[in-house]
Amino acid sequence: MIPEKLRAAWVIARRDFVAVIFSKSFVFFLLGPLFPLIVGGMAGAIGAKVQRDLDNPQIGIALPADEAARMMAAHRALADAMPGDVPDFVVLDAPWGGRTYDARAALAGSHRAGTAEHDRPVGQLAAVVSGSLAHPVLTATPERARMWQGMIALFAAHAQSVAPAALPPVAVDEVASSAASVQTGQVSTAQAGQVALFLLTMLLAGMVLSNLVEEKANKIIEVLAASIPMDALFLGKLFAMLGVSLVGMAVWGAAWGGLMVMGMKSLPLLAAPAVGWPVFILLGFLYFAMAYLLLGSLFLSIGGMATTVREVQTLSMPVTMLQLMVFFFASYALARPGSWVDWAARVFPLSSPFAMLARAARDPVIWPHLLALGWQALCVMLIVRTGAQLFRRTVMKSGPARGRKVRKGGLLGLLKPDRTAQDRFSQGEA
């Protein structure tokens, strides 16, 4: 026989699930992930273009003419073989007869190249090489000086040789992975898992927050409270939204799969997690469920104290901040495996699913996950029970809405019980 609480939770979950799935807002929920993708893509493209336009540094060469020519030849010979982006070289001036070049003035933008041949704007000038090939002087900001010092020395050495040796061809023997690449790849997979978990829970948070407002607005809450245990109501609502999110994930997954089939092979592929993909996906699903249930039960409890949509909107900002903090905490812990921060992130209920999913990407041991899932489930039950008790205490304690007072004390007022006109009457104030 099904326990009464589960049966009651099922009744609530079924009603909520059907109500949400067949509502217009569900279409927007399904389209939800598109918005950050589109906005993020556009912002990224614009940002990259701006970066390209603005950050194209040049290094000015202010050496005697023959040395400048040899320096330019060295740049042509070595630039492509160097890792990363090597800035363009620009010949600024060819000092002669003991005249020195004012590199500081050139970098300050008050000086244009001296020779007519190389006369050009110096707006992108980031450093100047002056002196001589034997004793080059690099004038630049400290950061760039540190970055380019070795490169300039290499180019100058190459330029000084009368017959510079050609770069020998290097035969390449490619391997699928190395210890370093596996570790880096698994960290990326862990990060991707955490981000996906965060985005999914974020999508649901607003819906969970406002979940009990409908019952309050429709005044059906009292019938529910009289018919079923309050924690069954909370559980039912949580599982309904979990079901809704699973439908959403199925739709998103199908869309993603469709795109892959249609040939969008350029989508990034992640390194295999330490526990293997099947287990990782299963754990990802379980940790998503736990992260959602933990955050959801907390948000449902907080949202349960709100009586209007406006109050829910007021609550949504701190709630989003809380989600971000949890996410940042887990991300921070990811970079410090084995440290106390990592352990704290694994034990603290709200960050535990994030931290443990990251662990699954990097560590093949399974049993800690069973322990973590048990701990998280226990925390869900505790939060649901506490939230239900708080809800009963704060909501079901006054008469009809005609006497409902406006709360004082802002959000802190939410934690205080209402005092209604009916209450005041009882105290002889009416």
């Binding site: 049966r7 009651a8 009744v11 009603r15 109500a19 509502s23 409908e214 429709n218 005044k219 059906i220 009292e222 019938v223 529910l224 409270a225 009289a226 018919s227 079923i228 245990p229 009963r392 079901m396 304690k397 006054s398 008469g399 009809p400 809405a401 006497g403 205080k416 019980p417 005092r419 006109a421 009916q422 209450d423 005041r424 009457f425 009882s426 105290q427 002889g428 009416a430």
Partner: protein, 319 residues
């Protein structure tokens, strides 16, 4: 502490206390509702009726006192056997009428399929069959109230609790509801309802609890409440004066040929004898038993009675 089990009570509560935020909303309420009775909780708004009902239903827990509902000390254990219509009525607006009733039935443990079938039967029975597939938001307020009432009864509860059931209903629907309450009681269902309209309680109830300021100064048979007051005598005489006037009680008030006074403890016979012997010329004499309203005034006090009347007139205007 266990409540005694000597009587066949649907509800038995002793010393219920509920405090909210520093004030006492319900202060030591004792109620015993016999099975199959129609029981009224009578009092003005803010007297503690709703809080008392919520404690009896297990929606909130009392700070002190004991309650036993259908033989269980935890009312939530018998929630499936109880129907509850709160004062603030409401349903999910997007739900269809049949689904709404079936949902309320499902909350009380009735399988959805059975609930739907019963919902259709009830809707047909009460002349609402044409609205079976309409959404709640498409119904008038009165119809929506009827649908919720049917949802309260769909699981055939042993105990039905109505909080201000007549509130917001027009006279016609109030009459229908009274009829339904009587039919429920005849079928063996215990009905307990709160009201601030004495007439409903007087017409329907076997027993009442009068509640004011969170206390219950009287709980028992309606007749016992009325019997707390002596009957009132209205006498009309031909003679305006004479020795017979000495036989009238001290509280007698004269208005022309009429006298009003409380029936003396000694009864009506000695008075009649004195009036006849004194040649008062009795034109008419009536003995009126006090109504529940008079009893309420005497028990709860003038202020509570005035508040009750104000609530009732406000409700009439709203309806």
């Amino acid at each position: 502490m266990t409540i005694g089990q000597d009587g066949d009570w649907a509800i038995e509560a002793r010393g219920l206390v509920k405090r909210f935020d520093g004030f006492t909303a319900v202060d030591g309420v004792d109620i015993r509702v016999p099975r199959g009775a129609i029981y009224g909780i009578l009092g003005p708004n803010g007297a503690g009726k709703t809080t008392t009902l919520r404690m009896l239903l297990g929606i909130i827990d009392p700070d002190a006192g004991m309650r036993r509902v259908l033989g269980h000390e935890r009312p939530t254990d018998v929630a499936r056997r109880i129907g509850y219509l709160p004062e603030e009525r409401g349903l999910y607006p997007a739900m269809k009428t049949t689904e709404a009733i079936a949902f309320l039935a499902a909350l009380r443990g009735v399988p959805l399929k059975t609930g739907r079938a019963r919902a259709r039967e009830l809707l047909e029975e009460h002349g609402l069959g044409y609205a079976a597939d309409r959404q709640i938001r498409q119904l008038s307020k009165g119809m929506a109230q009827q649908v919720q009432l049917l949802g309260t009864l769909v699981h055939q509860p042993e105990l039905v609790v109505f909080d201000e059931p007549f509130s917001g209903l027009d006279a016609l629907n109030q009459g229908k509801l009274e009829k339904m309450i009587r039919a429920l009681a005849q079928g063996g269902t215990t009905v307990i309802f709160s009201t601030h309209v004495i007439a409903h309680a007087e017409r329907l109830c076997d027993q009442v609890a009068i509640i004011a300021g969170g206390k219950v100064p009287f709980a028992g048979l309606v007749d016992d409440a009325r019997d707390r007051l002596r009957p009132q005598v209205r006498l009309e005489t031909r003679a305006r004066d004479g020795a017979w006037r000495a036989a009238l009680p001290a509280d007698a008030r004269g208005e022309g040929a009429f006298w009003h006074f409380t029936l003396p403890e000694s009864g009506v016979e000695p008075l009649l004898r004195a009036l006849i012997e004194g040649d008062a010329g009795i034109l008419s004499l009536s003995i009126e038993r006090p109504g529940l309203h008079d009893a309420f005034v005497a028990i709860a006090g003038e202020a509570a009675a005035r508040a009750l009347e104000e609530n009732a007139s406000g409700q009439e205007k709203a309806a």
